[in-house]
C-alpha cells in the first residue's frame, strides 16, 4: 500500500461513517474498573435489550477507560455525550428506554447525579471533564480498541503519514524537542534529547522499547491506553523508529495485563495488514516491526536495564549506568526506551506541532499528565490534566473531595518512590520540579488521597514493605537496608521504638538513597523521608525512652 491508497482508505472510512444509517452509538466502558464492577454483563444485556426493542441500527462499542472508575460501570450515548453511571443488568433497560425511545435523559442515573444539584446531560460540561485536558488518553473512551478503522477515524496513523512523507528524521526529533515533552515513566527525562542521543549513535541495528511494565501499586494509566487505544502506542513507536533509525521495537507489557497483551497483539496484526507497520511502510523504504514481550511480575523489571536483561532472557536485575541504553542497550545496541504514556503523546505532537504541546503546562514541565486517583476521594479513577494544575483542583474540583465529608490530610504521589504532600501544600502546582521541592516525585502518576484517619507512619511502613518485597537483592543498601528500615518502622508502629531507632532510620534512609544501584533502592526511602519531614510528630509521639543497655551499644 502506498500513500495514495492510504489516503483513499481513510477517505472511504470517513465517507462510510458520514453516510452510515446509525444514528446512535452506545459506548460501554470496558476499562479495568468497569469490568470489575460488571461491565461485561452490562454489555451482553445491552445487546439483548437493543435486539428485543428492534433498535438494530444502534452500534454498541466496548471502549477503554472513560475515567471516573468508581462510578462504573459507565455507559455513554452519542450524539450528546450523555453518560450514565452505576449501570447494571436491571437499570440498563430503563436507560435505553428513556434515552433512545423516549428521548429523555434519565436524571437519576446520570454521571455524578448524587453530587450535582443538576447533573449534566452532556457529560463534557461537567467540571470533572472540563478541568481536564485529554491528550494521551484522548479517544480512549471513544474508539473500539480492536478496530483499526475506528482509530483511522480519530486521525489514526496520520501523524505517521506526515512524519514519513513530510518530515526527515531530524525534523521529527526537533519537533519532539520543541514540544518539551518529558518521559512519563517517572524520571521526566527530556524525550527529544533521548531520541537525539539514540539517533546520533551510529549503528545498523537499533531498537525501540515501549515500557509497559507499570508496577507501581495502584497505577493503571499505561494499562488504560494499552487496552483502550493500542494503535496510538504502536504509531508512536513506529514514528520513534523512523526518527532514530531503528527497525525493530518491543512492547514490554506486564503479564498481569492479559487484555492489554491481547489487544496490542491484535493491533500489531491489523496495522501490518493495513501496511502501517512491517515491511516498506506506506510504500516507503522504511520498515519497522514490533513484538510483544511479557513481564513476569517483578516491579524492578520496569527499570530500564533490568527490563532489557529480561527481554534478553536473563534474570531481571539492574546494571550500573553508564552505559545508558541509548548507547548500549538491548543486545548491546543503541536502544530507545520510553514509557507508554510518553509514546501515546507522540502522534498528537507530530500532528499538531511541538509548539502547541509546549504551550500547555508549566515553564519546565510541558503538556499534560495522567494521574490515577485513589484512596479516600469521591471520584477515584483516571484523569489527565495540564501540568501545573494544583493538587486542590485535582482533589476537590475533579476528584469531588474527600469521601463522607472527611478532612484532607495528605496526598501520596509517586507510589513507593514518592512522598506525601500535607494539606498546607494543597496549592502546589503539580509538575516535576514543584513536587520534588516538597520531597515527593511525579513518578508515574499514582495519587492516593488520605483523610484524617490515616496513620502516616503506617503509610511509610506499607510502601517500605513493598520495596522489601520487590528489591531484586543485587545491591546491599537496598537488599538489607530496606529490610532494616521496614523492621524499624514496624517497631515505631508498635510503639516500641526509641529516639535511637528514629536516628538510625534517618541515617539508613539517606544511605540507601545515595548508595543503591538503581532507582528502586534510590527512591525507596522517599515515603519515609517525606513523612518524617511533614508528619514528624506522628513519629515523635510514639517514641519510647531509651533503655540504658541499648544506649551503651548504640551511641
Amino acid at each position: 500500500m502506498n500513500r495514495v491508497d492510504f489516503k483513499n482508505i481513510i477517505h472511504a472510512e470517513e465517507l462510510k461513517a458520514k453516510n452510515a444509517p446509525t444514528k446512535h452509538k452506545i459506548f460501554v466502558c470496558c476499562g479495568a474498573g468497569c469490568i470489575s464492577s460488571g461491565a461485561d454483563n452490562v454489555m451482553k444485556k445491552l445487546q439483548e435489550e437493543i435486539k428485543n426493542r428492534g433498535l438494530e441500527d444502534i452500534e454498541v462499542v466496548p471502549t477503554g477507560c472513560m475515567g471516573p472508575c468508581n462510578q462504573g460501570p459507565l455507559v455513554k450515548f452519542k450524539p450528546g455525550n450523555t453518560v450514565y453511571q452505576k449501570i447494571d443488568c436491571v437499570n440498563i433497560g430503563e436507560v435505553v428506554k428513556s434515552q433512545i425511545v423516549d428521548k429523555k435523559p434519565l436524571e437519576d442515573l446520570l454521571l455524578f447525579s448524587e453530587h450535582r444539584e443538576k447533573p449534566f446531560v452532556n457529560a463534557e460540561e461537567d467540571p470533572y471533564f472540563k478541568k481536564q485536558l485529554k491528550i494521551a488518553l484522548k479517544d480512549c473512551g471513544d474508539v473500539h480498541p480492536e478496530k483499526i478503522e475506528d482509530y483511522l477515524l480519530h486521525d489514526g496513523y496520520k501523524a505517521l503519514d506526515k512524519a514519513l512523507f513530510e518530515m526527515s528524521p531530524e525534523d521529527v526529533i526537533s519537533e519532539i524537542k520543541q514540544s518539551r515533552l518529558r518521559g512519563r515513566g517517572g524520571a521526566g527525562y527530556p524525550t527529544g534529547l533521548k531520541w537525539e542521543t539514540v539517533y546520533r549513535h551510529v549503528n545498523d541495528q537499533k531498537y525501540i522499547i515501549c515500557n509497559g511494565d507499570e508496577g507501581d501499586p495502584g497505577a493503571f494509566m499505561d494499562r488504560s491506553v494499552l487496552e483502550g487505544n493500542p494503535h496510538r502506542i504502536l504509531e508512536g513507536m513506529t514514528i520513534a523508529g523512523y526518527a532514530v533509525g531503528a527497525n525493530k521495537g518491543y512492547a514490554y507489557i506486564r503479564g498481569e495485563y492479559p487484555l492489554a497483551i491481547k489487544r496490542f497483539e491484535a493491533a500489531i496484526k491489523a496495522a501490518k495488514k493495513l501496511g502501517v507497520l512491517g515491511k516498506n511502510i506506506l510504500g516507503t523504504n522504511f520498515s519497522f516491526d514490533v513484538e510483544v514481550r511479557i513481564g513476569a511480575g517483578a516491579f524492578v523489571c520496569g527499570e530500564e536495564t533490568a527490563l532489557i536483561a529480561s527481554i534478553e532472557g536473563r534474570r531481571g536485575t539492574p546494571s550500573p549506568r553508564p552505559p545508558y541504553p541509548a548507547e548500549s542497550g538491548l543486545w548491546g545496541k543503541p536502544t530507545l526506551i520510553n514509557n507508554v504514556e510518553t509514546m501515546a503523546s507522540i502522534a498528537p505532537i507530530i500532528l499538531k506541532g511541538g509548539e502547541w504541546y509546549s504551550e500547555i503546562g508549566t515553564a519546565k514541565s510541558a503538556g499534560t499528565k495522567v494521574f490515577a486517583l485513589a484512596g479516600k476521594i469521591n471520584y477515584a479513577g483516571l484523569i489527565e490534566v495540564p501540568m501545573g494544575t494544583t493538587l486542590r483542583e485535582i482533589v476537590f474540583d475533579i476528584g469531588g473531595g474527600i469521601q463522607g465529608d472527611g478532612q484532607f490530610k495528605a496526598a501520596q504521589t509517586g507510589g513507593p518512590s514518592g512522598g506525601c504532600i500535607p494539606a498546607e501544600h494543597l496549592d502546589v502546582k503539580m509538575d516535576y520540579e514543584e513536587l520534588m521541592k516538597l520531597g515527593s516525585i511525579m513518578g508515574s502518576g499514582g495519587l492516593i488521597v488520605m483523610d484524617e484517619n490515616s496513620d502516616m507512619v503506617d503509610v511509610a511502613r506499607f510502601f517500605m514493605e513493598f520495596c522489601v518485597d520487590e528489591s531484586c537483592g543485587k545491591c546491599v543498601p537496598c537488599r538489607v537496608g530496606t529490610k532494616m528500615m521496614h523492621d524499624l518502622l514496624q517497631k515505631v508502629c508498635e510503639n516500641k521504638a526509641t529516639q535511637l531507632d528514629i536516628e538510625r532510620l534517618e541515617e539508613l534512609a539517606v544511605y540507601v538513597k545515595e548508595c543503591s544501584l538503581c532507582g528502586l533502592g534510590g527512591s525507596a526511602p522517599n515515603p519515609l523521608l517525606s513523612t518524617l519531614r511533614h508528619f514528624r510528630h506522628e513519629y515523635d509521639t510514639r517514641v519510647q525512652p531509651v533503655r540504658k543497655s541499648e544506649n551503651l551499644v548504640h551511641q
Partner: protein, 236 residues
C-alpha cells in the same frame, strides 16, 4: 590507541588510560578503595556498593569498580560521608546472615572479617536478621554454607566466566536471594559442576570451602582467578 586522561584522586594527579575504571586507576596508584564484589579478572557488577566515591560536580555517588575515568575527573574516596557509608554497608553484611567467626573455616582469612577491621567495626547497630539457612554438604569435595554468603556473586561469575560451567545462579528476590546450584538442586547432584574449585577460591567468606580443611584453616587464593584471566588474555 587508548586515550590518556588526567584525573585527581584524593588530591593526587594521575595520568591514566581512558578505558580504565576509577578503581583500577586508584589501585595502580596505591590508593585504597574498599571492595567486596569486585574480583580482578571477573566482570564488575557494582553490587556491594562499598567502593562508592564522590565525583566533584555531582551530588550522586558512583561505584568506582564500574565507573570509567574521564578527563579532569576529581575523585574523593575518603570523605567522612564515604567512610560512614562503608561502615553501614559492613554492618549490614554482618546483620544479614549468621556470621559466627569463631566456628568458621575462614576465621583469620576472611575478606569480610578484614573489612570489619578496616572500617573499625566495634558494634552492629542494626538488629541481626538471623535467617534460617541451609548448608549443602552433598558435593564430595566442597561445602556451600548459606549462613556465611554475602551474595557478592563472585562464585557465579568465576564459574561462568573463567570455568565456563555455569553451575551457579541466584534465585528469589531481596533479602531472600540465595545462590543456587543448577536449578536449585543439591550441589553434589549438579550436572554442570566440574569440581574445579574456582568458586571456592573466588569466595570472599567462609560460604564456600573445601572439605579437607578444619576450622580456621581455609586459605583462599582469589588471585588465582585474576592470574588465570591475565594468562588467558596473553594467549599463553
Amino acid at each position: 590507541m587508548m586515550a590518556l586522561v588526567t584525573i585527581y584522586i584524593d588530591g593526587k594527579k594521575i595520568i591514566a588510560g581512558s578505558e580504565k575504571t576509577i578503581l583500577e586507576v586508584a589501585r595502580e596508584n596505591n590508593i585504597e578503595i574498599l571492595t567486596m564484589c569486585h574480583l580482578k579478572g571477573l566482570t564488575d557488577v557494582g553490587a556491594c556498593r562499598l567502593c562508592m566515591v564522590e565525583l566533584e560536580g555531582s551530588p550522586k555517588l558512583f561505584s568506582a569498580c564500574t565507573t570509567k575515568v574521564a578527563d579532569n575527573m576529581i575523585v574523593t574516596t575518603n570523605s567522612e560521608r564515604i567512610r560512614r557509608y562503608q561502615r553501614i554497608t559492613t554492618e549490614l553484611f554482618f546483620a544479614e546472615r549468621n556470621h559466627i567467626c569463631a566456628v568458621c573455616v575462614s576465621n583469620g582469612a576472611c575478606e569480610l572479617q578484614d573489612l570489619g577491621y578496616k572500617v573499625g567495626l566495634d558494634a552492629i547497630r542494626y538488629p541481626h536478621l538471623f535467617p534460617q539457612c541451609e548448608v549443602d554438604t552433598s558435593h564430595p569435595l566442597y561445602v556451600m554454607d548459606q549462613n556465611r554468603c554475602i551474595s557478592c556473586s563472585r562464585c557465579i561469575r568465576a564459574c561462568a566466566e573463567v570455568e565456563g560451567a555455569y553451575n551457579w545462579d541466584m534465585m528469589n528476590r531481596g533479602y531472600q536471594i540465595r545462590v543456587i546450584s543448577d536449578f536449585n538442586t543439591l550441589w553434589g547432584e549438579s550436572t554442570t559442576c566440574t569440581s574445579c574449585g574456582k568458586c571456592v577460591q573466588a569466595c570472599p567468606t567462609g560460604a564456600l570451602w573445601a572439605k579437607s580443611i578444619v576450622q580456621g584453616q581455609q586459605d583462599k587464593h582469589p588471585e588465582f582467578i585474576t592470574d588465570l584471566m591475565e594468562r588467558r588474555k596473553m594467549n599463553l
